[in-house]
Symmetry: C2
Subunit: 190 residues, 2 copies
């Protein structure tokens, strides 16, 4: 896999230890891919802003209200959604340094509920997981996410790499599309 | 129209004069409607978080990182999107105190572009406008939004009430659904 110029992000990521910044590198790659999709009129898919609880705002300067106290909120939904070929697309993207499995604590319960709802209403929902040390990115359908999440109640709290290899789809990197997940959608969903 | 218990919001709205809070009352009504849709498994439609540019964060307490400096960003897309009967739904909601017209300065150019793109990709896109003093809420298809926005370059910078009456759809209020916009979608779009 080609190294994209995201070293700055990487650096920031090691300095700032917060859930909101986790997955920064994958995020850069997906954003770049979504920009390509948008610029080439292929799809309209965006990352949602990070949900923030604003507590205090300074309105002294009318032109630029300054937020002086705010906190990260737990997201109700997933990070990405949009439209592709008339289909509603919805997914969550996560990165792991593990070389053997993806810990399910990275996905919130209500996000799994959201993915299930989207599927039930006729949308396409999935997760994208980046095993950064292996440089492998998988797309896993929400049906499997639900299955493995449900299993985590009593048993294993992760999805193994071999389960991704068996039930997920490896996302290939293409020229100007670091995470070309729509090629998987084209091949297996449409 | 029944008065919903949103007087607290109204009060806050007059005190805090910022674009981010504009349309607060309509927002409360739409959020309530979307919750009804979600709770009754009718649709999965959410308001996106307000986009914020975070400048400075205090990480002293690990459990609750505190944002100490941030600014409102111009949104790239619209406020609401989601899925209904397999269809991608996307809209912007605005409120006006005017009793004669809706000023187009309330909608950003890139939001109009976004509504057009969604339509071209097979989604359903529109704006919801609340004439608060008339207590009338209209749904106007993005085709008209684009048309009127385009006109504003040389001519009138607003959409008149009579244009809403002629080309838009009046959204009726129903029990537990203050802004039942999906009834319009059912009747005229599906």
């Amino acid at each position: 896999m080609i190294k994209y110029p995201i070293k700055k992000d990487l650096k920031q990521n090691t300095e700032i230890k917060t859930t909101a910044n986790r997955g920064m590198n994958l995020e850069s790659m997906i954003n770049r891919t979504n920009e390509f999709y948008l610029d080439n009129d292929i799809a309209v898919i965006y990352k949602k802003p990070i949900p923030i609880q604003i507590v205090s705002v300074d309105y002294k300067r009318r032109s630029a209200a300054r937020i002086t106290e705010a906190y990260y909120k737990l997201p109700s939904t997933t990070d990405y959604n949009g439209i592709y070929k008339g289909k509603y697309i919805d997914f969550e993207a996560k990165e792991t340094k593990s070389t053997t499995s993806f810990p399910l604590k990275n996905i919130h319960k209500h996000q799994v509920t959201h993915l299930r709802r989207v599927k039930e209403h006729g949308g396409i929902s999935f997760i994208i997981v980046y095993f950064s040390r292996l440089e492998k990115i998988f797309l896993l359908d929400s049906a499997y996410v639900i299955k493995y999440y449900s299993r985590s109640k009593d048993g294993r709290k992760s999805i193994s790499l071999s389960e991704f290899e068996k039930n997920g789809y490896l996302i290939k990197e293409k020229y100007r599309k670091p995470v070309d997940y729509l090629s998987v959608i084209d091949k297996y969903y449409l």
